[in-house]
Symmetry: C2
Subunit: 223 residues, 2 copies
Amino acid sequence: MKIIARIRNDFKEKFGIPRQSGILDSFKSRIVFEPEYRVKEALRGIEGYSHLWLIWEFSEAKRAGFSPTVRPPRLGGNKRMGVFATRSPYRPNPIGLSSVRLLEILDTADEGTVLIVSGADLLDGTPVYDIKPYLSFTDSHPDAVCGFADEVKGYLLDVDFPEELLAKVDTGKRESLVRLLADDPRPSYIADGDRIYTFSFADYEISFNVENNLLTVTDVAVR
Amino acid sequence: MKIIARIRNDFKEKFGIPRQSGILDSFKSRIVFEPEYRVKEALRGIEGYSHLWLIWEFSEAKRAGFSPTVRPPRLGGNKRMGVFATRSPYRPNPIGLSSVRLLEILDTADEGTVLIVSGADLLDGTPVYDIKPYLSFTDSHPDAVCGFADEVKGYLLDVDFPEELLAKVDTGKRESLVRLLADDPRPSYIADGDRIYTFSFADYEISFNVENNLLTVTDVAVR
């Protein structure tokens, strides 16, 4: 498998990345092709598509051996489901699949032609194996039944982000950040309101705790 | 990349496979896990999903080197588009992506637990790298704009299948076969009404010609 491109964005560490693509419509990423694939002709016609598929490597989630079951964070982290019934990164082949919205095709001096997309749930630097156009007549099944994922899809936390802390964050990144926090970036639902979690986003280290359904930001450090 | 499963169905050769998944709702395939991944627990919860993603290898479409453009058959075979703007098999990594409908989960004596799916546009024996649940709230974009694919998506041939020839085909396979022919299995649109094409489906060798928008079956041989 050849790396054709890498994603560039503000997700600097795994903790805090939304668990599904599309959650962050406002969140932009840049797809930068590797020098070998930096050929503008390879993108001819892509401007006609509103959405793309990215097939990529779960580069931060490698595990030795095959574990037939995983514990989805959205089920509280203590219930096991078959790996093929989940989108967990811990699968026989660490391949991720995300649909993104294509916003712009930019010719740059340093990086050749890059794609600007929104909604990518990929860590900065993630290797991309393939980019395909999204074809609604075969890829879209709005009425698909989605098992246990259907039961938890509306799950969001309330977010209390004190004004003096929010003021430290670049205005253009506030909406994405609050949406990320509401999505509950904890690895599992640990009933421990005293625990302080930290995660990195763009140039910020955000500290927070969660009690019941309320996430409270306790600190914002600028790196 | 590890092969986790192989597809089993009536598509015995590449010529004649529909160009996109989902076209053949009536056409069933069986997903047979490799012995190492033949573990029923790995499927726990999958019964709750109506659709799955298959990520698989274009095992019959390997080419040396990177060609930035391809000629999509649906554009007549003589217009070049960027490879990343198409679902062509001739891409840097020969990875295919297909959504299928999950019909049944069967415990078998010989092959362990197998998945019965419909709509798979994969050749018999194709290696499968991953199976993921289809999540409508992130994967479904019914209003996605689909570039040149939108312009050609309604394309179908009229099919003239003489009754005495159709009688040779198993009744359960007739509908799929006619639908496959309407989808125009020719590699490109060659304006040559005299040319006879042949393709294999299940136990049959179907011969046909195409003139203007009419495909006429000229022979059915049973293997």
